[in-house]
Each structure stands twice: as structure tokens, then as C-alpha cells.
């Protein structure tokens, strides 16, 4: 199935703004394309992406077919405490993928 790549600095200073980069393998089929025989290809996209920091939601994205295949999303957060950053992608056809990354804040 799909696989995700996440880039988060493993260590950060308290209060520092860290950049989080995520990439997930997904075709993001728009639903507007047709096969050579003219049959419509049904839509299959990731609808939402949520990032939580120790259980608190810090970022959410609502995606539409205009997002390129293999969605790349980069955003930032303030490193407040050591813990885990959890990422969840959900989409059409029951697509759901979760990943988590540990971060140490000193």
C-alpha cells in the first residue's frame, strides 16, 4: 500500500520553530480523466491530512483533486515538549494511513 516519508528534526530547542515535511505515495486520481476506451476513471484522492503533537491537533489540510499525485505538504510548528508527532491521511475508498515520529526537545 501507500508509504509515507516524513522529515522532522529529531532534536530541537524548546520554543524553536521546526519545519515538518511529509510526502505520501498516492495516485490522487482526479475523477476527470478517461481511459482510452472512454470510460471514466473514478476519483480516488486523499481528502484530509491531520498532524497531532502529543494528541493535540496542530495542523489540518483539506485536499482537492488539484493537489498533485504523491501529495507533499510542508508546514511548521513550535517545539514545545518531547513526545510524538502523529500524522494521518484519510481519503476515498476507505484510504487511511498513519505514521508517527518521535521528537526530543531540550
Amino acid at each position: 500500500m501507500a508509504s509515507a516519508l516524513i522529515n522532522v528534526p529529531p532534536r530541537a530547542k524548546r520554543g524553536e520553530i521546526i519545519e515538518i515535511k511529509t510526502l505520501i505515495s498516492h495516485p490522487m486520481e482526479t475523477g476527470y480523466r478517461r481511459t482510452q476506451l472512454g470510460g471514466a476513471i473514478p476519483r480516488d484522492i486523499i481528502r484530509t491530512f491531520v498532524c497531532t503533537y502529543n494528541g493535540t491537533e496542530i495542523f489540518r489540510a483539506e485536499l482537492h483533486p488539484a493537489i498533485a499525485a504523491n501529495p507533499f505538504i510542508a508546514f511548521s510548528t513550535v517545539a514545545t515538549e518531547s513526545g510524538t508527532l502523529a500524522f494521518q491521511w484519510t481519503g476515498d475508498r476507505g484510504f487511511s494511513e498513519t505514521e508517527s515520529v518521535a521528537i526530543t526537545v531540550d
Partner: protein, 157 residues
Amino acid sequence: MSGQSSRREFLLATGGAAVGIGLASMIMVEPARATPAAMQEAIRKVVGSARINPGRVKLDLPPLSENGNTVPLTVSAESPMTAADHVKALHVFNEKNPQPDVASFRLGPRAGRASVSTRIRLADTQTVVAICEMSDGSFWSTSANVVVTLAACLEEA
């Protein structure tokens, strides 16, 4: 007599079929397109009746894109990002893709910096609009023009 009527039926049937095919091909050829008006409608759906001011939000897009299937985009806004004054959401819209919405990003004071990057699809040379929603309820907007050489969304699989 029967020969004549069958000929008439045949002509009627083939004529009807031709019109049917003509209609179908017209529908097939006409690509589903959002229009600037559809984009305004989509923006209104998000913004409501609030006033949209120019400025405070920045949209980074290449002015010329060779491949409309992946166009790098960065949307950022000037904000101290404190609990009292922060960016609540960043919305991106386009004019000429089949759908006017591109993405909505919801942030909070914990983001530290209001800046989000992603890659988008563009079906044509067009204007992309970014709307920034502040915690005080104000909306700010900016736009960028992109020339697209190879359009997304239209190829066959």
C-alpha cells in the same frame, strides 16, 4: 408502401442516432472547467459575506511551469502567530481547473510561522488565488499568474 415506411423509419433512426452522437461528442469535447465566476463562488463559500482585503498573504508560484501536473506552491502570511493574533486558515483557489478549490490548510498559534508548501495541478495558464483567514475574522488575499506549458488533468490513462 411498406418499403417506403421502412426507409422513413431507417432515416429517422439514423438521423436520431447521428444527433445523439453529435450531442455526446459535444459533451465529451467540452472539458469541465471552473470559471473565474465559479472561483468567486467557491471563495464566497469559505469567506461568507466578510470583506476581503488585499495584502498580508504571500503566494509563491513559478511564473512559468513546464508541467502542470506538479507545480510547487508556497503560501505564507505575515502574522505574529500568538494566541491573540494568528492565522486560522490558508485557502488556495484556481480559475480554470475542473474544480475551483485547491486546498485549505488550518493552522493555529502552535504553527509558529504561517507558511505551508505543497505541489498542485494546473490545467491551464491561469490565476491562482490565496486567501488568508485571521483569528480576528478578517480575510486577506493575493493572486499569482502561472503560464502552464503542459496541462494537467486532460491526458488519458
